[in-house]
């Protein structure tokens, strides 16, 4: 039983890991076909992973409504929004428009989801600004550098900024394309080295936390 519960999953990880790592170095149509199928398989299995997450959300809010805990009305709103969108989406076969005409699902997307999402992220502008006021005071040389870079980039992204400081557009582009990209490149190299190391640890069974806890 230990073999089935513990060793077989590790064996599956080892075999699939080595197989798909090797696939990259085999320039044969069969190898390419395997990659295409595997990508499709991953999407299908990922769809089932969504069920796991959504069920958890369903359960959490259902408990809140059943027990009438504080704020259970909001959970009801969440349920109504979710079930309503699902009903409308299934009714229109998941299409936002048919032959150029907006469907009910498209209406939900355009007049509910887009404004909600847009405004939710837009109000962050105010909080970012207030956070900046509190944390951007040039207490050290590093903080001053950060502040100056942020101000130049902000000025360089709007016509008014370029009008007030004519050079800000060019300096902003230089900061983003040269200084910023060099840091992004270094971070990308570092993160990638870590990802490769972690992948090797997973394939060879050193890292096993993805299997979860539980008995054996």
């Amino acid at each position: 039983m230990i073999f089935l519960r513990r060793q077989l999953p590790l064996l599956i990880t080892l075999v699939t890991g080595l197989l798909f790592a090797a696939q990259y170095y085999v320039p044969h149509p069969a190898s390419e076909q395997m990659l295409t199928s595997a990508t499709k398989w991953l999407q299908i299995v990922g769809g089932f992973a969504l069920i796991l997450g959504v069920t958890s959300l369903f359960h959490q809010h259902a408990v809140k409504i059943r027990r009438q805990e504080a704020g259970w009305g909001y959970s009801l709103v969440l349920y109504v929004g979710m079930l309503g969108t699902i009903a409308v989406g299934l009714w229109t076969n998941g299409k936002e428009s048919v032959e150029g005409t907006m469907t009910a699902f498209g209406w939900v997307y355009n007049y509910m989801m887009v404004p909600l999402q847009g405004t939710m992220f837009a109000i962050l502008a105010f909080f970012i600004a207030s956070a900046a006021y509190r944390s951007f005071r040039a207490k050290s040389r590093e903080a001053a550098v950060l502040l100056v870079a942020a101000v130049i980039v902000m000025m360089g992204r709007v016509p008014l900024g370029e009008y007030l400081i004519p050079l800000s557009g060019d300096v902003s582009s230089w900061i983003l394309n040269v200084l910023n990209s060099s840091v992004r490149r270094a971070i990308l190299i570092g993160v990638s080295l870590g990802a490769v190391a972690l992948s090797f640890k997973i394939i060879f069974g050193v890292e096993r936390s993805y299997l979860g806890g539980g008995k054996e």
């Binding site: 089935l4 999953p9 075999v15 890991g17 798909f20 990259y24 499709k40 999407q43 299908i44 299995v45 990922g46 769809g47 089932f48 992973a49 704020g71 909001y74 709103v77 969440l78 109504v80 929004g81 079930l83 969108t85 989406g89 998941g94 907006m102 699902f105 939900v108 007049y111 404004p115 909600l116 405004t119 939710m120 109000i123 502008a125 970012i128 900046a132 950060l146 502040l147 870079a149 942020a150 980039v153 902000m154 992204r157 709007v158 230089w174 900061i175 040269v178 200084l179 910023n180 840091v183 490149r185 270094a186 990308l188 993160v191 990638s192 997973i202 394939i203 299997l211 979860g212 539980g214």
Partner: protein, 253 residues
């Protein structure tokens, strides 16, 4: 002037109302905002469920199996079903097969692609511009800072990449020359964080302008001026909520 379609007018009222409910958070956390927040989560999850159902279940599983007889697709379906055994305590261990498959495949696919695209390619792009200095007609050096491909910028990029990498390399003590290099790395990092912050702020401002543009558009008489009426309604509701909050002091027990 042609009359707007009924669904556009209703849509304008709904979009304006929801926008104002979210904006009410700028005053303080209140029930109107919480209502819109929960509706946002519900609608978003519903949207993702419908899209996943349509893309995965219909287009990747049902249609290929029914129309093309691709029976092999039942294998990933079976693997996916194994994931759901998480809900049956006695059979929960079977979900490990599904996770082992996904994680193993992901790790295998990641190794060569990460090494090639994110390590070797990045190192190549950092070094290669410097090699172009030595051409057939001798050594050339372009100083134009505004051209990201100039040799001066190539040296700055090399300096940035090396110093930032060194800053995160802890196997050597950062003292002497090492300290100077690490400090240069910090300087580059700070500039990048500042640039990232500035860029994010402007992206959020752009979203804010988009929402305000919609509110201005929906204040038009052809929509029935939802911005005006719903703004008044939202302010009135916030006023009433604030008054009720003052009359009922919070329970300290």
């Amino acid at each position: 002037m042609t009359a707007l379609p009924f669904e556009s007018i209703i849509g304008a009222w709904v979009a304006t109302g929801l926008t104002l409910l979210i904006f009410s958070f700028l005053y303080k956390d209140n029930p109107l905002f919480k209502l819109a927040e929960h509706l946002y989560v519900g609608v978003s999850v519903g949207y993702v469920i419908v899209k996943t159902y349509d893309t995965v279940i219909i287009h990747l599983v049902v249609k290929p199996i029914v129309e093309n007889g691709e029976i092999a697709l039942l294998i990933p379906v079976a693997i996916g079903m194994l994931m759901l055994t998480r809900y049956v305590p006695k059979a929960a261990w079977m979900s490990r097969y599904a996770f082992a498959f996904i994680v193993g495949m992901g790790a295998g696919l990641a190794i060569p692609r990460t090494v090639s695209s994110f390590i070797l390619k990045q190192v190549e792009d950092t070094i290669r511009p410097l090699l172009s200095m030595a051409g057939s007609d001798g050594v050339t050096f372009s100083m134009n800072l505004l051209n990201p491909a100039s040799h001066l910028n190539a040296i700055i990029i090399l300096l940035g990449v090396s110093s930032v990498l060194f800053y995160f390399f802890f196997s050597i003590e950062h003292s002497g020359v090492g300290k100077a290099v690490a400090r240069t790395g910090i300087l580059f990092l700070m500039i990048s964080f500042g640039a990232g912050f500035g860029y994010t702020v402007m992206a959020r401002m752009s979203l804010l302008i988009g929402r305000l543009t919609d509110l201005i558009e929906f204040s038009d008489a052809s929509y029935g001026r939802p911005t005006v009426w719903l703004s008044l309604l939202t302010v009135g509701a916030l006023f009433l909520l604030a008054r009720r909050g003052r009359e009922q002091p919070p329970d300290i027990h």
